[in-house]
């Protein structure tokens, strides 16, 4: 049985959105025209006949994006210790979904920290690493989970971009994840991860990445459990004075508190490296 503290779509309907979702999504399309290479990668990278050669050929036209892919391929996360010297091999090492994720980051200006909530990437990389490390326990591919984590806060970034002060206040007033989602629904008519899912779905990201975003509040959903747990881990590491929620509650008992210390340690160690690679620093 589904038990969720969140409002049902019907109840949300009574809220007064200050935010036109359609307009926001349309603005992303506009951004895509400014980053044609990234847009092309987003559209071709999930095709079954994509090859590292084809993808790297497209990628080479966007020097900034290509250098980030190289940097990521040589980051500690992939363990290649500087062995990746060609773009094609870099694409092979990080995988097509990751290349596509990085292109999406570029496309949506998530690489511009000045336009993002404070400490956005600190939280996002922790979230992505936590999701990736936890994925095998939930039967998911770590790589997809990493990408999902990297893009999960796209919706929040869009709120921030379109309602800077209002979203900052909302976040300040609602430090818990559940409470914040409730407030997002009331204020914008949609909550951040749902917005992310819709955007990703439009770009043809696989359902393995969008379903968890859609089901994050369905505590009975196994697909949502991984993302909930990753959010909890990231919050514990990055939100000041965060009050932890027992992890078992988010994960239908699949994770216990005693499982977390090594995971927290590893995420803490690797997050900064991943952040630098993602931002090309």
């Amino acid at each position: 049985m589904t038990v969720t503290p969140l409002p049902t779509p019907g109840s949300v309907r009574t809220a007064v959105p200050v935010f036109d979702i359609e307009k926001v999504l349309a603005s992303i399309d506009t951004m895509a025209t400014q980053r044609p290479v990234a847009a092309q990668i987003v559209s071709v990278a999930n095709s079954d006949d994509t090859s590292a050669k084809a993808l790297s050929r497209i990628l080479a036209a966007d020097v900034a994006l290509a250098s980030r892919v190289m940097k990521l391929a040589n980051s500690a996360y992939f363990g290649m210790r500087g062995r990746v010297t060609s773009l094609q091999f870099a694409v092979t090492v990080v995988g097509f979904t990751t290349v596509r994720t990085m292109a999406t980051v570029a496309l949506t200006n998530l690489d511009d920290e000045s336009r993002l909530p404070e400490d956005f990437w600190q939280g996002t990389t922790s979230l992505a690493l936590a999701a990736s490390l936890l994925a095998p326990r939930f039967g998911e591919r770590p790589q997809d989970a990493l990408c999902m984590g990297l893009l999960a806060q796209l919706g929040a970034a869009l709120f921030h971009h379109n309602d800077h002060d209002g979203y900052a206040q909302l976040c300040a007033e609602h430090p818990t994840l559940v409470g914040r989602r409730y407030a997002e629904g009331r204020r914008y008519g949609i909550y951040a991860s749902r917005l992310t899912a819709i955007a990703l779905e439009q770009w043809g990201f696989p359902s393995t990445m969008t379903v968890p975003l859609n089901q994050i509040d369905d505590l009975s959903s196994g697909e949502g459990a991984l993302l909930r747990a990753a959010f909890e881990v990231a919050a514990r590491l990055t939100v000041p004075d965060y009050e932890p929620v027992p992890i078992a509650r988010f994960t239908r008992g699949q994770l216990r508190e005693e499982d977390l210390p090594p995971l927290l340690e590893q995420v803490r160690t690797d997050a900064d490296d991943l952040r630098r690679a993602m931002l090309g620093e």
Binding site: I21, D29, T92, I190
Partner: protein, 691 residues
């Protein structure tokens, strides 16, 4: 596939085609298509095809009356417009609620009309039977694969991306002693020995780029133990995802240990555990730098080891060798090599020492060895002769050093056992000269450059020639004639005596056959061929028989001469060989009789025909001493043996020997040794020999 028609220009599609396509879409029951529009601010369906009616379970009119958001229960308030974007086609995966209230998971593709007022929505159920079957098959494959790897005793890694592992099986976890969670991602890299990590990454890079690769890597286990493994990487490509690898691990630690043990056995003496001759050669060769001093060798040979072996038994001999090995190891400096060269010979190799230090070490070794020990209840004081060589500019190769050391040891031994000798230049030169001579002798034998001379033997009564003795001669191109006194012992020492003996036998037989052809009945009736003690083995009779057959000679045409001392080396086996020769039909003579220590009783049982009175006893006749010659001749007569007196140099000696009763005479006064050709002429001139 796209098909174009000549009638179609630009975007203008003829109405017939539009109506054809529309008709097919209308009646299609395999494709669900709906058209929606916003009517008074509320999105509604205005048209559906057969497929949509069937999928959704509503009648067409009901569908038209239905608020569109009722079909998409998962969409939040205001989210319906996300499906009805005017600028672009939208794809969304979500449940579609049917008339029965059931939700069908579907992909909705919503395409706006050019005017932006209507949307064609295609609904593709993602939960149809075919997809479910495909997914079930894929799941079954996945389960089978994971069961296979999970249960496999072969440690297996499965990468998702780059070096990152998505899966490790139980066998790998067991091997390294860690849990799967600790190994996934890049965790497994912590188990790879830091010195091997670079190579592993290189090989993974090869596999990711499409090849198969193999790395030898040490894995550091959770308990600190280190295992050596071969990791084989195979490329793994997932369409739409990218490249990974499957790695299988073979633990070769035990195999390597076994191989190391075999290598150790191949390079070490099993009795003492010391490096053997092979390893010694490698060791010296590795350290030898021509022209640079630095290496020193001590060559030790235990004195009287044979006595211990013979008197106390081989077990005691072995015990002595083990004790000597232990004392040597305890005496040399750390880093010096002690090797067992063979038998009772040991070699110590030192680096960075001068002659004084090397001699000093040799003295310490001698002192340490001389401490008495008890073997089989007997007190033994081991002494060794020690040869010392320090590397000089004259040493061109590592072997030179060991060889010089060996020479020095022989010098020490020759100087009276228990000594230490440092190799001097003259001894080195002599030894090297001898080595060169051996090589030249080998060449001479191979090229049949050893020639034969034949000295006639006469019967005493009529002084007619009855036989010849073959005498080997070596004329060296540079050194001139080399005496058999020099080259026969050299051939015996260097293992060339068998070849030389065969050469003499074969050439003699060939010459006999030639004389027969040339001289007929005037040819020498018999030839005496000398055989060395070292040829006295069970092959000799067969070799003689072969030579006779090869040249078509009767066995009575050859007599084999063997020295008395050769017979006494191993009397039993000598008698056996003589018997075989006798059975063959050849005559046998004992050469140099009287110079050895033959037991007369033993002599009586030897199957010989003749005794040759040594030339030294014949020479004594001139000094008035006929005692020994007389005794030998008398002894032969009493044993029914004939006698040949050698070295007859004067007519007086011949007369005296005749008087004493010698059967045959041989010497310069009667006839000189001659070549085969000269012999033929000599026999032709001296008429019919006595047969």
């Amino acid at each position: 596939m796209s098909v174009s028609f000549s009638a179609v220009h630009d975007d203008l599609v003829p109405p017939e085609i539009i109506s054809t396509v529309f008709y097919s879409a209308t009646v299609s029951d395999t494709m669900a298509v709906m058209v929606a529009e916003i009517d008074g601010g509320v999105p509604r369906l205005t048209w559906c095809n057969q497929g949509a009616v069937q999928l959704l379970g509503y009648g067409l009119d009901d569908l038209r009356a239905l608020p569109l958001d009722h079909l998409f229960p998962s969409l939040g308030s205001g989210e319906l417009k996300l499906l009805m974007r005017r600028e672009r086609t939208v794809r969304m995966t979500m449940p579609v609620r049917t008339a029965s209230g059931a939700d069908v998971e579907s992909l909705i593709v919503s395409t706006p009309s050019p005017g932006g007022r209507m949307w064609a929505m295609r609904v593709v159920s993602t939960a149809n039977e075919q997809e479910r079957a495909l997914r079930a098959t894929a799941d079954a494959h996945e389960r089978r694969f994971s069961t296979l790897t999970e249960r496999s005793p072969v440690p297996t890694l499965l990468s998702e991306q780059g070096m990152r592992l998505a899966h490790v099986n139980d066998a790998f976890c067991t091997l390294v002693g860690l849990r799967a969670e600790q190994l996934l991602g890049t965790g497994w890299l912590d188990t790879v020995h830091p010195d091997d990590l670079d190579d592993v990454i290189e090989r993974v890079a090869d596999a990711l780029e499409g090849g198969d690769a193999e790395a030898k890597a040490r894995l550091v286990l959770a308990d600190g133990d280190v295992r050596t493994t071969i990791i084989r990487f195979a490329h793994l490509f997932t369409p739409g995802v990218g490249a990974g690898f499957v790695g299988t691990i073979e633990d070769i630690t035990d195999r390597l240990a076994f191989e190391a043990q075999l290598a150790h056995q191949a390079n070490h003496d099993p009795l003492t555990g010391l490096p053997n001759r092979t390893l010694l050669a490698e060791y010296v060769a590795e350290r030898f730098r021509p022209g640079i001093a630095g290496l020193a060798c001590l060559f030790l040979d235990l004195d009287n080891f044979k006595v211990v072996n013979d008197s106390l038994g081989h077990a005691a001999g072995d015990e002595l060798l083990v004790e000597v090995a232990a004392r040597l190891r305890a005496t040399v400096r750390p880093g010096d090599l002690v090797a067992r060269f063979g038998g009772d010979e040991f070699v110590v190799v030192c680096e960075n020492v001068d002659e004084t230090s090397a001699v000093s070490l040799a003295e310490r070794v001698s002192v340490s060895l001389a401490v008495p020990l008890h073997l089989g209840g007997v007190g033994v004081r081991p002494y060794a002769s020690v040869g010392v060589t320090v590397q000089t500019a004259e040493h061109q190769a590592a072997d030179d050093l060991i060889r010089d050391c060996d020479i020095a040891m022989y010098q020490a031994k020759a100087g009276g056992k228990g000594r230490i000798t440092v190799l001097d230049q003259q001894a080195r030169a002599e030894a090297r000269d001898k080595l060169r001579l051996v090589a030249e002798l080998r060449d001479a034998v191979e090229r049949r450059e050893i020639t034969l001379l034949y000295q006639p033997i006469f019967d005493t009564a009529e002084r007619r020639p009855v036989a010849v003795e073959s005498l080997a001669r070596w004329h060296h191109a540079e050194r001139g004639t080399i005496s058999p006194v020099t080259f026969i012992p050299l051939a015996e020492e260097s293992g060339l005596i068998t070849s030389l003996g065969m050469l003499v036998l074969d050439e003699t037989c060939r010459q006999m056959a030639e004389w027969d052809r040339l001289l007929g009945s005037a040819a020498p009736p018999r030839a005496n061929v000398n055989v060395s003690a070292l040829q006295l083995d069970t092959n000799l009779a067969a070799q003689v028989a072969d030579a006779l057959v090869r040249h078509g000679l009767d066995s009575s045409r050859v007599s084999i001469e063997i020295t008395e001392s050769a017979l006494m080396k191993d009397p039993d086996s000598a008698r056996e060989v003589l018997q075989q020769l006798r059975d063959l039909g050849v005559e046998l003579a004992i050469d140099d009789f009287g110079t050895g220590y033959s037991s007369l009783a033993y002599l009586r049982h030897l199957p010989v025909d003749c005794l040759k009175v040594d030339r030294s006893f014949v020479a004594e006749l001139a000094e008035g001493h006929a005692e020994i010659a007389s005794a030998v001749i008398a002894l032969a007569r009493n044993l029914n043996l004939c006698t040949v007196a050698e070295g007859v140099e004067t007519a007086e000696q011949a007369d005296e020997l005749t008087r004493l009763g010698a059967s045959y005479l041989q010497g310069f006064s009667l006839a000189m040794p001659m070549t085969g050709g000269a012999s033929a002429a000599w026999f032709a001139a001296h008429g019919e020999p006595a047969r």
